[in-house]
């Protein structure tokens, strides 16, 4: 919201600088984002009167002017052709720094000295909309009644400062000059000066000219007044300068008045050309489903019954609260006019503005909420301006259709001690009262109770918390800078703890970091085509993903159901920029809807995903890493060939918990998938369900006594079919060994044509131990025979002949 410093002065006598006002506004909750000085480029520019023009002795295209700038005459050499003796013009002198970047210093034109320069409108930063003649190609010719020697910023009423204020949504009342003026009164202990709302009428009755009916619940109040015999012209400079300061283009007196009220009172208004109102009727209603309206921005919109319109007997004439139609707006031939001053439901205006993609000053204001009481004063103020500008004859009476009771302002009984408790501070009672009264909240104290009469515009104030905020923001939060004491002095002790999953995640992350991995963070949104790239089956549950209704882009349109996409993209990106030896992990979530379209929240599952792209890395290194990650959890699991479509079917495994749930997988990434991600090296990928793992109980340890008897080793190598796995052989060995089994390790795998086709030799070191005695060779030999027989029987494994 742009607020003019000069405009504020209409309502509060200010004796502090604009900087001080800005600073104070910010610390009181109205953040001033920018302070704009309208006169920034107008210093050292004065009104001058050309007394005499002579030809330049040496140059045909130049003239030499003697100019009265008040206390003295100066000499200006110019090539401008529209100057004449007696003309009143802006003169920039030494030191001036004009809007177009020109810096003025005395100069010499072929031997003739020039003290400065005449200025065009452009050089002063204004155009015809602001000041007649400012857009001409040449020097701005000022009216004759401008006094030579006056500063141009004063003469053109550009001696203003504008505050760009961020008004928070709880203070719709402060989207206006008067709202901010009230605040400033409280901050500086000033008294608010009421607006002049007096006006003269010509008798008659508004009801004889126009009728209003409201046929929708979205318009709690609609008031209308009638002004006839309008003299449509430029508004006076003082009014134009106000609008100009806050960034509104002056148009003509009637339209300018409506905009003036919007800014000053925060009440949007509209002015109709009476003769175009069919039936001289105003009907506030929802639009018909096929109605159309051409509006002031040049577009035509198709309407439907969600859009509220102001209509006459036949057609819509305004999109209510948003924009006026071209069919009834004020134009050069307007003679009589109806003023509208209404309250529309903020939700309705918001939806309409959104639907039409059209946000105007008016809709922006309505969306924030216009008070039901607001039209009363605003209409009077508008008619006062009509009267003051003498731009038409006001007919008696204002039509006011109001379906809600006007607010009178609430009386609250506030506990002083509760306010202090909320703040944790004792602010003296008299200070509290002073602040509240300054804000227009008429307050008095009786014991602990502060009786507050809240003005109707402050319908944000309901309870002690609201009052506490009003008090402290004006009192100043810097009181806390030096506050001493203990926190939670009068409260309980609570014991802090981490969510178990975070504890586990951090534990796993640290193992990974110590194994050379880098943590990545990826967006949890991606494109639906990720599922295709990862070769997910048509029936894969993960193809049921959540789509965002209003995505930023297709790339971020889908909530992920798969982790792998992100790390593969990371690998692909890193390879593309020449990074090598990539070990990445990510702790993130997948979001799996239970059904689509979404009617309940999806399951959010936390995962740890791991990817390696490194020369020489292999499946078993990854397997070792996974084992190390899991070994200190109490997870009991087995591995089976993985069913993940994006992994190499022969070089991957699923991790299956005791309850049969697949809680992770690891392996080499499928070649086609790598191609889909433009990766031309092997990638190994793993994923773990950290939610599942964090729900496991802590691992319990029960250690055994160390045996007194020695461990005996035997090596054995057997030749088996390729399809027989190490896992099968090891468990067969283990069961054949019986009680004296201690451990078994595969230490060599050998493949050679001499072994036979599709055969391999597997060499095991078997360890035996008894807890009761030292084992004899005889006993071990017997067991070894059993092992060999067992392997032969189950897997046709033959002892390898060396």
């Amino acid at each position: 919201m742009k607020i003019s410093y000069n405009w504020l002065k209409d309502f509060v006598d200010l004796d502090v600088s604009a900087e001080d006002v800005a600073e104070r506004l910010t610390v009181s909750g109205f953040e001033v984002e920018d302070v704009i000085y309208l006169n920034k480029h107008l210093h050292d520019v004065y009104v001058g009167k050309i007394k005499k023009i002579e030809k330049h002795p040496e140059a045909d295209r130049l003239v030499v002017c003697k100019v009265d700038v008040g206390n003295r005459d100066v000499q200006i050499v110019t090539s401008a052709t529209n100057v004449f003796e007696g003309a009143v013009v802006p003169v920039s002198l030494e030191g001036a720094d004009l809007a177009n970047g020109v810096q003025i210093k005395p100069s010499n034109f072929r031997g003739v000295k020039s003290d400065g320069m005449f200025c065009s409108g452009e050089e002063l930063g204004i155009d015809d909309n602001y000041f007649e003649g400012a857009s001409v190609n040449g020097i701005l010719i000022l009216p004759n009644d401008f006094v030579a020697g006056q500063k141009i910023e004063d003469a053109l009423l550009l001696n203003d400062v504008v505050f760009d204020i961020n008004v928070t949504p709880n203070r719709p009342d402060c989207n206006s000059i008067v709202g901010i003026a009230h605040e400033i009164c409280a901050m500086f202990g000033k008294t608010f000066k009421d607006c002049d709302i007096s006006y003269k009428t010509v008798g008659e009755n508004v009801k004889d000219y126009v009728s209003v009916s409201v046929e929708t619940a979205n318009c709690p109040r609609y008031s209308a007044a009638y002004v006839k015999n309008i003299k449509l012209e430029r508004s006076p400079l003082w009014l134009r300068s106000r609008l100009f300061a806050v960034g509104i283009k002056p148009i003509n007196n009637m339209v300018d008045i409506t905009n003036y009220i919007l800014i000053e009172q925060g009440q949007p208004m509209h002015a109709f050309d009476y003769k175009y109102l069919d039936g001289y009727k105003i009907v506030v209603r929802q639009a018909g489903n096929n109605e159309e309206i051409a509006v002031l921005n040049g577009n035509t919109y198709k309407l439907d019954d969600s859009v509220m319109v102001i209509a006459d007997a036949k057609k819509p004439v305004v999109v209510a609260g948003v924009i006026g139609g071209t069919n009834s707006c004020i134009s050069d031939d307007t003679v009589d006019s109806v003023f509208e001053c209404a309250v529309f439901d903020l939700k309705s205006v918001r939806l309409t503005a959104k639907k039409l993609g059209l946000r105007t000053d008016s809709s922006a204001r309505y969306e924030k909420g216009v008070n039901i009481n607001s039209p009363t004063l605003a209409m009077k103020r508008a008619l006062h301006l009509v009267s003051e500008l003498n731009c038409g004859q006001i007919v008696d009476g204002v039509i006011d259709v109001c379906s809600e009771e006007l607010e009178k302002g609430e009386v609250l009984n506030i506990s002083y001690s509760k306010v202090c408790k909320i703040l944790g501070l004792e602010i003296p009672k008299e200070k509290v009262l002073q602040i509240l009264n300054g804000l227009g909240i008429v307050s008095s104290l009786n014991g602990d109770v502060i009786k507050c009469v809240v003005p109707f515009i402050r319908d944000d104030i309901k309870n002690e918390n609201d009052i506490a905020e009003e008090v402290i923001r004006i009192y100043g939060y810097d009181v806390y800078n030096n506050v001493e004491g203990t926190m939670f002095e009068n409260s309980s002790i609570t014991i802090g703890q981490f969510e178990p999953r975070l504890v586990l995640e951090n534990y796993l992350k640290n193992i990974l970091v110590n194994n050379g991995f880098y943590e990545t963070l990826n967006y949890s949104l991606y494109t639906a085509s990720a599922c295709d790239k990862l070769l997910l089956d048509e029936n894969d549950e993960r193809r049921n993903f959540i789509r965002i209704a209003n995505p930023l882009s297709e790339d971020l349109s889908t909530v992920r159901t798969v982790m792998a996409h992100a790390l593969l993209l990371d690998i692909s990106y890193n390879l593309s920029v020449g990074n090598k030896e990539l070990r990445f992990f990510e702790a993130g979530r997948v979001y799996q809807p239970k059904s689509l379209p979404l009617t309940e929240l999806p399951v959010e599952n936390n995962r740890l995903s791991i990817a390696v792209c490194e020369n020489g890395y292999d499946f078993f290194q990854l397997k070792g890493l996974i084992e190390n990650l899991l070994v200190s959890t109490s997870l009991k699991y087995k591995i089976e060939r993985s069913k993940q479509p994006y992994l190499h079917s022969g070089v991957s495994a699923d991790i299956i918990a005791e309850d049969g749930k697949v809680i992770g997988w690891f392996g080499k990434v499928h070649k086609t998938v790598l191609k889909n991600y433009d990766i031309n090296q092997d990638v190994f990928y793993a994923e773990l369900d950290t939610d599942y793992l964090s729900q496991l109980q802590d691992k319990k340890y029960a250690t055994k006594e160390i045996s007194k008897y020695p461990v005996v080793e035997r090596d054995i190598a057997v030749v088996v079919d390729e399809k027989i796995t190490n896992g099968e052989l090891m468990s067969a060995i283990k069961s054949a060994c019986g009680k004296i089994f201690f451990d078994v390790n595969l230490f060599d795998v050998y493949r050679h044509s001499s072994l036979g086709e599709n055969k391999k030799s597997m060499a095991y070191k078997i360890l035996f131990m008894s807890e009761e005695k030292t084992l004899t060779s005889e006993e071990i030999n017997q067991v070894m025979n059993k092992v060999l027989k067992g392997l032969d029987f189950r897997y046709r494994a033959k002892l390898r002949q060396m």
Partner: protein, 339 residues
């Protein structure tokens, strides 16, 4: 005889002195102490020594033998040490060659900041919890005093999935979930991802926040201020300064924003803090009693405060990260700098 022994002793000692390798030393040992060695011969010839001299000569011979043995073993020790030193000299390596084994990786800077922050909170008695990112309108907005079409919704551009389900735009949803689930008194902090339909050079559509909430009897703004001072001190050091500005959040009243000494310029003023020396770190406030009541907490008995920082900016500033895009780009050249 005595002379002879003295002579042998003298000869042996001088021979040992000049010996320089183990082999020669052994030859000397054999020459004198071996089975046919000179000294051995003499000891064997003791029976020929007159009986009255035998005792004296015998004791002298033993002394000489001990002397020789001692000299030899000392020399042996010297020579072995010298050999060790020489060997080590030969095995000398270039210690500036690169190290071997797996090099440590690194946590993401956001995780690191998260961990530090959560540790501080847990020490102060907070329980760390997490919750859904796909959320209902109720938890993200309505229960936080932001009804449908409330102007405060304009403060956040939200990603919607259906009319009623969205990607949470703030971790404040966890305030409501905690209040529904937990009995006061409690302190919770919830780190997590939030989503806004907004992306440019200084905004990312996905970023990270915390939401901290304290509900108890007798909680006021002063508790909040003292706690935040302590947190800032631990995060940014003893010299950090704090500045408080009024603000507005629908779910807190009063609402404030807290600025701390800009960590980019240490308060000197830079482009990041627009020369003010301060940058915004937390939004905070006293929990609006309406919000307490909506979640079933008796606002007459209990009060509370909440604060929620966006942490990405703090991570950027404390690590001097030049571009917010680095946080999600996962470029190894960036990540390696975080080791």
């Amino acid at each position: 005889m005595k002379e002879k022994l003295k002579q042998i002793e003298q000869n042996v000692l001088s021979e040992i002195q000049i010996v320089e390798d183990l082999k020669k030393l052994d030859e000397i040992r054999v020459k004198y102490l071996g089975k046919t060695g000179e000294l051995t011969q003499i000891l064997r010839g003791m029976k020929d020594v007159p009986a009255e001299d035998r005792r004296e000569v015998g004791s002298l011979a033993n002394i000489v033998r001990e002397q020789i043995e001692k000299a030899i073993s000392e020399k042996l020790c010297d020579l072995e040490n010298a050999k060790l030193l020489a060997d080590m000299e030969k095995e000398k390596i270039d210690i500036t060659e690169p190290s071997k084994g797996i090099k440590k990786g690194a946590l993401h800077p956001l995780t690191r900041f998260n961990n530090k922050f959560m540790d501080i909170c847990v020490e102060m008695g907070f329980t760390v919890i997490q919750g859904p990112e796909v959320e209902t309108d109720y938890y993200n907005f309505e229960a936080l005093n932001v009804p449908k079409n409330h102007p405060a919704r304009d403060m956040q551009d939200t990603f919607f999935i259906t009319d009623n389900i969205l990607l949470r735009s703030q971790t404040s949803n966890m305030q409501v979930r905690a209040m529904e689930k937990m009995k006061p008194p409690f302190k919770i902090v919830c780190p997590g991802r939030v989503y806004r339909n907004d992306s440019d050079s200084s905004h990312s559509p996905i970023f990270n926040q915390f939401e901290a909430l304290v509900i108890d009897e007798n909680i006021g703004l002063k508790d909040l201020m003292l706690m935040i001072k302590e947190i800032l001190r631990r995060l940014f050091g003893e010299d950090v300064k704090m500045r408080v500005r009024p603000s507005y959040f629908p779910f807190t009243e009063p609402s404030i924003e807290i600025d701390a000494t800009c960590q980019m310029c240490q308060g000197k003023g830079c482009s990041l803090c627009k020369g003010s020396g301060f940058s915004e770190v937390f939004g905070a406030g006293v929990v609006n009693p309406k919000v307490l009541e909506m979640s079933g907490i008796d606002s007459k008995k209990y009060s509370g405060f909440a604060f929620g920082p966006g942490i990405d900016r703090s991570v950027m500033v404390t690590n001097k990260i030049p571009n917010i895009k680095y946080l999600f780009r996962n470029d190894l050249r960036f990540l390696k700098q975080m080791r």
